[in-house]
Amino acid sequence: MRVLFYGRLAETIGPELEIDAPTGCSVAELRDRIVAEHPQAEQPLRSRRALACVGDALVRDTYVLRTADRLEFLPPVSGG
């Protein structure tokens, strides 16, 4: 599964990872796995302001990922 990162997450982890997610894996479980492999990204990944998207739509932590999904983690956004 393709997992994309932006902002400070892309700086810390890189813009993209290819992860073999097990069947039935949720967004929260995948996040735990990424944090375990990239502990320096824990704070922005677990921020309550961070967002997860699949197909340009926000998804909750309980969303069950499918192999074809492209998951994106967005650290807190800021315009203006």
Binding site: Y6, G7, R8, R49, C53, D56, E72, L74, P75, P76, V77, S78, G79, G80
Partner: protein
């Protein structure tokens, strides 16, 4: 009613955006606009040379449109215009323009205020200050989120 939401990769000219809004506002009695400028110093007082604004390929424009449409639906306004820079913005250069036209001033003032409170916290950008102390990610403050909550 017109709603304009645009992502600008080149220089943003607030005076041109304001002129376009006034031209559209035939029959209206009020136009209120806000221009955000890249500050030359960080909160800590260190020199900032430029802002780097990273955008998402689809969600950034979508967020600008959503915010502009939100203002049009919420306030008694005739026209709304949001233009936001992406890429590198030198200190002193405009980053954002937000404006609204209405029959009467109160709705236009409120719409501009609403637009900026939402843009600060919901526009999909990742912003870095680049200056004498290197590069630092900038995120909304708790005060910014509290300002946004005023409209919930």
């Amino acid at each position: 009613m017109s709603v304009v939401a645009r992502l600008e990769e080149e220089a943003l000219r607030p005076e041109q955006e304001l002129a376009a809004l006034i031209e559209q506002a035939t029959g209206d009695g009020a136009v209120v606009s806000f221009a955000g400028i890249a500050r030359p110093a960080s909160e800590g007082g260190e020199a900032v040379y430029r802002l780097a604004l990273e955008a998402h390929p689809t969600l950034t424009l979508q967020s600008l449109e959503d915010i502009a449409v939100g203002a049009a639906a919420r306030f008694d306004i005739s026209h709304v215009r949001v233009v936001h820079r992406c890429g590198d913005v030198d200190a002193g250069e405009p980053i954002v323009f937000a404006g609204a036209a209405a029959l009467h001033r109160r709705a236009a003032f409120e719409a501009a205020d609403y637009l900026m409170d939402r843009l600060k916290t919901e526009a999909v950008f990742w912003k870095r200050e680049i200056g004498e102390s290197g590069s630092e990610w900038i995120e909304p403050t708790e005060a910014d989120y509290a300002d946004r909550e005023r409209w919930s």
